[in-house]
């Protein structure tokens, strides 16, 4: 099973764990298995339309999955998937 490393903000929704294992042959499948195993985590990973939230960056090993086919990027038994939040905000109104 692939290993998924969670940022501190999301560990609270996976019983406080930093690393969890999840099965799947692609990054997308691994993340779906993760969400199925930890339902409280799901709403913070996916929006109402079922798409990964904008702030969720996914790395496979050292590289962003954007460079490797996105969620279709294949995973192996020893793959390490790291979720890295994009941090953004601001006062906005001019």
């Amino acid at each position: 099973m692939a290993k998924v490393i969670l940022p501190t903000a999301l560990r609270a929704f996976a019983d406080g764990q930093k690393e969890v294992e999840a099965a799947g042959s692609t990054v997308g499948e691994v993340l779906e298995a993760l969400a199925a195993a930890y339902p409280d985590l799901k709403r913070h990973l996916y929006d109402d339309a079922g798409k990964l939230r904008q702030y969720v960056n996914v790395f496979l090993g050292e590289d962003s999955i954007r460079d490797f086919g996105g969620l279709a990027a294949p995973t192996k038994e020893d793959s390490v998937v790291t979720l890295v939040p994009a941090i953004a905000g601001g006062r906005e109104a001019s």
Partner: protein
Amino acid sequence: MSERVRIRNEVIGAVKVEAEAAYPYECCGFLLGSDANPGADADDAASRTVEAILAVKNEREGDPARRRFSIGPQDYLAAERKAEETGLDLVGIYHSHPDHPAVPSETDLAQALPWYTYLIVSAERGAAGDVAAWRLAEDRSAFAPEEIKVVW
């Protein structure tokens, strides 16, 4: 229920210094500390203590940096490593609102992560003012205020 976060006095001071130095642009960075209750059910009101800040470069530049901030993934990963090295956890984010109240905006809400303490400092005409702490509601609908307990 309003939660409470314990924040060291020097953290409040350091965030104000950052806000004033960055004015008229937004400053940003991480809050490092500990949370005795790592579960999602944060009903232990004073379980979180903020011990230090880690200032990060606002990736927004020029005019957009007056009203937006962003922190890149490499800076995030470096901050988590730094926190671990010092035996602390990354427990939140701070940023400034130049000439704007210390209240989360729609932008803040849309981009917000759960669990983190969001510390916002107002910088009115370059002088740091109110400092307020917020946490995203479980259903992501809004930010709820976190009462700040200043500790020495």
